[in-house]
Chain length 236, copies 2
Amino acid sequence: MQARYIAIKSAILDKIESGDMSPNQQVPSENQLALQFNVSRMTARRALTELVDEGILMRSQGLGTYVSDHRPMSSMLEIRSIHDEIIHRGHHYNNQVLCQQRIVASPQQSTQLGVAAQAEIFHTRIVHLEAGFPIQLEDRIVNPRWAPEYLAQDFNQITANQYLSQVAPLTQADHIVEAVLPEQQVADTLQIQISDPCLVIARRTFSAKGIVSFARLFHPGHRYRIGGHLEFTPKG
Amino acid sequence: MQARYIAIKSAILDKIESGDMSPNQQVPSENQLALQFNVSRMTARRALTELVDEGILMRSQGLGTYVSDHRPMSSMLEIRSIHDEIIHRGHHYNNQVLCQQRIVASPQQSTQLGVAAQAEIFHTRIVHLEAGFPIQLEDRIVNPRWAPEYLAQDFNQITANQYLSQVAPLTQADHIVEAVLPEQQVADTLQIQISDPCLVIARRTFSAKGIVSFARLFHPGHRYRIGGHLEFTPKG
DNA sequence: GTATCTTACTTGTATATACAAGTATGTACA
DNA sequence: TGTACATACTTGTATATACAAGTAAGATAC
């Protein structure tokens, strides 16, 4: 049997995700929820409290509880897909799939994915364009074990990250950020010079079972910045 | 009047920080705390619950509550001082203070700190060396209102971030990461060429009252990487 | 000796209740 | 008109209580 406060959380989350409730809209008060779900106020309150802690809702004394306006931002680096990022800036988005194939892992790649040497893996190379300008080159290898249908996807319809989240719920991610000078091929794709610095984000995503994919995201240094936000937990 | 559950949290935190309680050690049970502090079990429980949420404690049903072993890692980018980072890698650390002065804020600087135009602010420029090689150039401006004694510090004894945390408990931080080519002066200080890419982290730190400082941290791209880790919160 | 049951803890969920405190909106009064 | 107060909400804190459920260790039966 599921705890009752979880049912209330789910109900609220459903309404938010279905668009039934929008950001900055007020959710029912603790007393109203208690009536609706036939629980005590403290149980309804617990549901709200946890949603506030998760950043889904905002509360203030005397005013009420409201849907938060920036749900996906939970940790420092918003794991926002480049697609969403570009659309959010009000620009036109499109991409070109440069490469979408099954390959035999090189020693380095097998290490990165945690698979056997010379195992078969998937490899995609997609350039993302913002208002016609290349803004990110995504070079990604994927473990076929956790996403067997990966190659069959149309990445104009769905981003790689979105698809992977669906088939193998991601639980963790590692990031390494560095500044490098691009190789000729990368520079050509991004339409920059090989003397222009690149911001490279190397990201490994994990599901509960293992490493799902390893992606290197190349950005033109002069055209891209990572923005992040971090809250310290007050200790007193 | 301070809430009682906060007093309990503080008492536990104090014991942990003073070394009185060490990781993996069991903390008193909810009932014991209730007796000790003369509160109801639910109030003691709240203190423990929040400390668990903050990652300070771990709990499991039937067993008890224990001090967690990895307190500082809370968010994606560990805000580890460059000093700790170098020491952790087992290398020798030292620094050179290039500049430590009171200046009149430029328009850009007054915006970055959120102070009036031409207000007096503090400016420091410190290069951090790992095993003799420059690894970070820290260019920092500080709002004197929140840290009036900032200039009097000896930054060989304490890092700027450590000092600022003490005098004005930091609650938030913004980060922007980008890849740039350094100016001549920066390149000279870091002992790199102006054609070598630099990783720049711009960080604004906030206390409850306002912006405390704005720092730009320049790293030689080929000698430094940012490592990060992120956990997704399951939504069920 | 080994397996099972009992007991005594622990945390987890849930309720009913009470009062404190912040916010907005009314209404009465000057 | 405008200020002050009363009211009716909201969330915040705190208590006492009850039972569920997980864990460990000791007692018991075989």
